[in-house]
């Protein structure tokens, strides 16, 4: 297990990020998987996907958001208000879902009351269409070009096709390595725990690429050389649904006696295609990858494509059950989970739907009971009731 990956996955305030800043680096926060990180890498900046972990109170989040809203953007707003994102030079809020896109206004308005809560140099709103093809893809591409232009103007940098190609090929290396890790998770008996793998997946969103790639390669080599499989698990489970960077959830599932072998949640693997094309127009390649390859239910009318992708991954991981979670008020995943439940069960894949709050705000006891019950359900083959001896 890599302690660097583990630490990166469990804290917002990170040593490597601090060092990057000390050397004069620019750090940009972003909020959704529709933001191509290659653009920032190409400009020599460090993109960090913002997280709301370890949020204990939502007094700031609730002051600006209404009551019927998902706790994830509220947790981000809370952290921003508490000063946890002071390391940011800029931030991009993208139109992921309605609650997330309104983080733009909530954050700006909150910073009128909490001076200094807004990143000092740059605060940008990125429009992302809700269709993966045709005129929507053209639009997204034009938005990405606008984003690049804005970044160049604001920070006086020059983002060339060449630098984008370099960034793409480096991120593709990360994708290849993560693909390898995903393949290792498909092995039975399991050789890597879901917790370890999820740590690695989360850390990707917050660490400088060179450090991350080195740690990831080391982890993969170490896993490959393991003599013993993961001990004592009863079932292999897969996680789908709302945004999740909640290691506690994975730990809880594994503590109940399962091994988590894959997930399609944000912060995990969220894309159907393995790599970004590294030839031709880099912006076109990035647009196609980020917009057309996502499995996010915000792309309305494309459930059939997602079902094929998700059920394919479930099959490949040899999962015996699927935990479909959604954060309360996340209608997109809430109802997609309803469709997935119907369709996966047709394929004989048992599912458990759970609605919860974001991360640490979830009530753990009841969640554990349901996970236990689900595992008991999967172990149907309990010995039949026998008459006690007379």
């Amino acid at each position: 297990m890599s302690s660097i990956l583990s630490q990166a996955a469990r804290s917002i305030d990170l040593d490597p990020v601090r060092k990057f800043k000390e050397k004069g680096g620019t750090v940009i926060g972003y909020t959704c998987s529709f933001v191509p990180v290659e653009i920032f890498h190409a400009a020599g900046m460090l993109p960090i996907r913002l997280r709301g972990i370890n949020t204990e109170s939502l007094n700031i989040g609730d002051a600006y958001y209404g009551p019927f809203v998902c706790t994830f953007p509220k947790a981000l707003l809370q952290q921003a208000g508490q000063g946890s994102f002071k390391f940011l030079d800029g931030a991009v809020i993208s139109a992921g879902c309605d609650a997330m896109r309104r983080l733009d206004e909530c954050w700006r308005k909150m910073s009128e009351d909490v001076p200094g809560a807004l990143p000092p140099s740059w605060f940008y709103y990125l429009d992302v269409p809700h269709k993966p093809q045709g005129v929507a893809l053209e639009w997204y591409q034009s938005r990405i070009r606008k984003l690049i232009q804005a970044l160049e103007e604001k920070f006086g940098v020059h983002i060339t096709d060449e630098s984008l190609h370099l960034a793409i090929s480096k991120q593709n290396k990360v994708r290849t390595a993560l693909g390898e890790l995903a393949e290792l998770r498909c092995l039975e008996p399991a050789v890597v725990s879901g917790t370890e793998a999820f740590e690695a997946l989360i850390a990707r969103n917050v660490l400088p690429t060179d450090i991350y790639l080195e740690e990831l390669d080391r982890l993969i080599e170490e896993v490959k050389s393991r003599a013993e499989p993961v001990s004592g698990y009863r079932k292999r489970l897969f996680i789908t649904g709302s945004i999740c960077d909640d290691l506690e959830l994975v730990e809880q599932i594994e503590a109940a006696g399962a091994v988590v072998v894959g997930e399609t949640v944000c912060y995990g693997l969220r894309n159907t295609s393995p790599l970004v094309s590294d030839t031709g127009d880099p912006v076109a390649a990035l647009s196609a990858f980020y917009l057309s390859g996502s499995v996010c239910p915000r792309m309305f009318g494309y459930y059939p494509t997602r079902l094929v992708a998700i059920s394919g991954r479930i099959k490949r991981t040899q999962a015996q059950g699927v935990i479909m979670q959604n954060i309360r008020f996340c209608d997109l995943h809430g109802s997609e989970n309803g469709l997935l439940e119907r369709d996966l069960e047709k394929l004989d894949v048992p599912t458990l739907r759970i609605e919860k709050e974001y991360g640490a705000l979830t009530e753990k006891g009841r969640l554990r009971m349901r996970i236990d019950a689900f595992l008991e359900q999967l172990e149907k083959s309990r010995p039949p009731v026998q008459e006690a001896e007379g």
Binding site: M369, D372, Q377, S381, Q386, A388, G390
Partner: protein, 262 residues
């Protein structure tokens, strides 16, 4: 064959059942205190006293319920979903579906012919559709929860509660009290609101016959009747024991299997 036990530490009540040769020999229900370990001990002590034996006579004990991990004397713990399914099918062998409404949550369970879990859903989003909802409404009506069901059966013109939210439903109940609607009509309205909520969950699971109800709320005939009517299905009553004990009974049955195997 020595005796086995099941202990169910719920949010509002803690239950213990002692069985010998798959027959219930003792059972106890105590109100859950702040410490699950102490509640479990109290319920078990009561049951042991009833059975006239000590903890050392218990060959195997399965714990269940919200506070199950804290039970000091158990050999193993299982979820209350499995235990309610197990217990219900023991009492009603034809049962394929179980609706368990406890103090703070509601579970709907589907079983196969062997009593194994096929699928389940739970509601623990809020108090509506749980025993807590009834408790709050009974308090507003100034009657005991136990009376809600009996009173409701006398109603000829149930009120409609606009709200399902526990907070707003209280305001609704007060409105009806002020309008001098008879208590039985309000009780029937409360039960129907509760049943509507549970029926939605039950329908989501496409319940098969036979259906039985467990948990404290199963004692409320008004809710049981309303639920059956809304779902268009008959609900089989559990008569042999207090329906609140079914989880503990299921745990004891699992304990009995383990004891036999060991």
């Amino acid at each position: 064959m020595r005796m086995v036990a099941g202990c169910d530490v719920g949010s509002l009540a803690t239950k213990a059942v002692i069985m010998e040769r798959r027959r219930v020999v003792a059972a106890a229900i105590v109100r859950s205190g702040p410490k699950p370990a102490a509640s479990a001990q109290a319920a078990m002590d009561q049951a042991l006293a009833q059975a006239g034996c000590g903890l050392s006579d218990i060959a195997y004990c399965v714990g269940t319920g919200y506070g199950r991990e804290k039970i000091s004397f158990m050999n193993e713990s299982l979820s209350e979903i499995s235990c309610h399914g197990k217990g219900a099918q023991f009492l009603v062998p034809s049962a394929r579906s179980v609706i368990d409404i406890g103090g703070q949550d509601c579970k709907v369970i589907r079983l196969d012919a062997k009593g194994s879990l096929v699928k389940f859903v739970t509601n623990d989003k809020c108090a509506s559709g749980t025993g807590r909802f009834l408790e709050v409404m009974a308090k507003v009506l100034n009657i005991a929860v136990a009376e809600l069901g009996e009173l409701a059966l006398k109603s000829r013109d149930p009120v409609t509660l606009a709200s399902m939210c526990t907070v707003w439903a209280q305001a609704d109940v007060i409105k009806h009290i002020n309008a001098r609607r008879p208590a039985e009509d309000i009780c029937a309205g409360v039960n129907a609101a509760m049943a509507n909520r549970v029926a939605m969950m039950a329908n989501a699971l496409q319940l098969e016959n036979d259906i039985c109800m467990t948990g404290g709320v199963a004692k409320n005939k008004g809710v049981v009747q309303a639920l059956g009517r809304i779902m268009g299905k008959r609900i089989k009553e559990i008569r042999q024991i207090d329906p609140q004990l079914v989880g503990a009974l299921g745990a004891a049955l699992f304990a009995s299997e383990k004891a036999t195997k060991n």
